[in-house]
Symmetry: C2
């Protein structure tokens, strides 16, 4: 597989859905990735099993506030700075980049970087979706250390952060991003292909492209059908947004939204959000919960809507997609389940909310 | 010269005066340095001309708020962490440590580190006094880069900060200190002995010990006399503190204090302070100005008083000591003259304020 002008649009649509409302707008990253492949040629996508055991993989993406990522002027050479720093630290060449999160802006920026430095991109990632914290990575669950974390503003300033404690690495990285104006580029959890075969989430990039293709159907209902049939999504509710509550301290979005069904029954669903949509609650019962992906699509445009773009009055369909397997283990749920976000509810697999009669 | 239980007390007194009201309380550093030399033996002090040209010198001290430095629990191994990181970065051994500022707490912490890792301390520093910003270094004037800056909390977390711009290095270091609770240990402006002979301020450590010995006389007037006769100090005023205005946003002290002479003439002097005493103004005229050192001594105890310890009603003598030569160049004044601190006045050499008839 290669990423080029033909399939980058699908990748971006897939990343928008996998962002589960967060991860930053993929549009700016898409533009930059398109320019980069036009100038430097397509980006090779390589499966983990096709890399040498000791090939060094550099997971990368943005660090800091994804909401600020589309306001930042990316120079394009951030990936090269990160790669050079990692090669200096490891004293060996980087064989391939990997999106640490194949979602939102994080699913596209590394495509631009890979194109510009002429390296392949691995068909895997560390999250299989978007999460707000850098230690919410499958690599963290597999005991691959985040450190040394490299961050750069792409303007000649860089930091290398060392800690044996991934939570401290996250704290230092966030502080560095704040120093760089709220968002910057970062590489972390660098690992060999041998390690990644166990530690990373395989096929994330193919999955994102596949989901993006499902979202390319003309009719919105065909898009939803394809998501459900090909990607195990379930529809949680379809209706109108009747209220949105949101605040964004330090660029991180927190809040909730309520969606009311049009039908006579008038079911109501409350979405809890923190950058991403994290819980879907109906009559006090959990209908979908993180780490499963909760995505909100406009029934007008058929496109996923980011948490910071929700508007009252908009007609939407809420779909939930199963979390990648590592997140459903006890360790995975401890790091990225509802309790990790401060919600006093247990994870339960997502529940179909609309009967087949709907369509 | 060696630093041991006999002369560390003098070093600490000298560092208190050279702090010019800032640089952090040397007392905690003194206790830790005394314990370290008791356990590991005295610290050798080496002159710059006695080091091999290519000997690597690691300037170090605290980064962040000096006011918080005495509240931090220093583990003692911060220097070792810094040294190990610098040796990894430079791929060569560190030959000696240097206080980046031979003043306040910064003049003592590196003594403890040197004792614990068994390295000598260079008889030189980067400031010849205390300054609030890390780019206010003679090495900066000599175009030795601050970067890579290494900082650590001494608890297993470390950061290496890269920038060609010393102001950005300072900004990143300050942000890292904030992430570490407001203060941490740092190494920066690493350089060879050959470079240091031009770039650093020589004999700072001997000077601090000499000033400390002057401050060891029993009678306060003898201390002042010795400062004036042996260390070119001038007495600016002697009187009572009649007002103190001070605020400490983010641990950095800002404010002013007014001192009124006891004598019938009743001269009044206003001190402007930002961590350090920066200006002494009488009737609108500058009597002493940064980069000259302005120090306030209690006439009761004969000891220097830190800006954050000034109390109304206290009887004090204000002395000014000449700045090391690099600060009096146009480049030096641009970095550390009154204008660098936001004061719209020109530097003028300090003026004797009390006639010899006083004593």
């Amino acid at each position: 597989v290669r990423l080029d002008a033909q399939n980058l649009g699908s990748l971006a649509r897939g990343c928008a859905l996998l962002g589960a409302g967060g991860g930053g707008d993929p549009e700016l990253g898409l533009s930059m990735a398109l320019m980069a492949v036009e100038e430097h040629g397509p980006v090779e996508v390589v499966a983990l099993e096709n890399l040498d055991d000791d090939a060094l993989i550099m997971p990368c993406g943005l660090v800091g506030s994804p909401a600020l990522a589309s306001e930042k002027v990316w120079g394009g050479d951030e990936g090269r700075t990160l790669r050079n720093a990692v090669e200096r630290l490891r004293a060996e060449p980087v064989a391939a980049l990997m999106c640490y999160s194949q979602a939102g802006a994080n699913g596209l920026l590394p495509v631009m970087w890979a194109a510009r430095i002429g390296l392949p991109l691995v068909d895997a990632d560390g999250m299989g979706r978007a999460f707000p914290e850098l230690q919410q990575q499958a690599m963290h669950l597999a005991d691959v250390p985040a450190s040394p974390v490299v961050v750069t503003d792409g303007r000649g300033n860089a930091q290398v952060l060392y800690s044996a404690d991934d939570a401290w690495a996250e704290r230092m990285a966030r502080s560095a991003a704040a120093c760089f104006g709220g968002v910057c580029a970062g590489a972390l959890y660098c690992l060999t292909a041998l390690e990644a075969r166990d530690a990373a989430i395989s096929r994330s990039l193919s999955r994102a492209v596949g989901i993006g293709e499902a979202l390319s159907a003309d009719a919105v209902s065909d898009r939803i059908d394809a998501l459900c049939e090909l990607h195990d999504a379930v529809v949680v509710i379809e209706g109108r947004i009747v209220s949105v509550e949101r605040r964004a301290p330090e660029g991180f979005v927190h809040g909730s939204a309520t969606i009311q069904e049009d039908a006579p029954g008038a079911r109501q669903l409350r979405l809890e959000l923190q950058n991403e949509f994290l819980l879907a609650i109906e009559d006090g019962a959990v209908r979908a919960a993180v780490p499963d992906l909760i995505s909100v699509l406009s029934t007008d445009t058929g496109n996923p809507i980011a948490t910071e773009r929700l508007r009252r009055g908009e007609h939407v369909v809420v779909v939930s997609t199963p979390a990648p397997a590592p997140w459903l283990s006890p360790a995975g749920l401890a790091v990225a389940g509802p309790a990790a976000f401060g919600y006093d509810v247990d994870y339960t697999p997502s529940v179909q909310g609309v009967t087949d009669a709907r369509r």
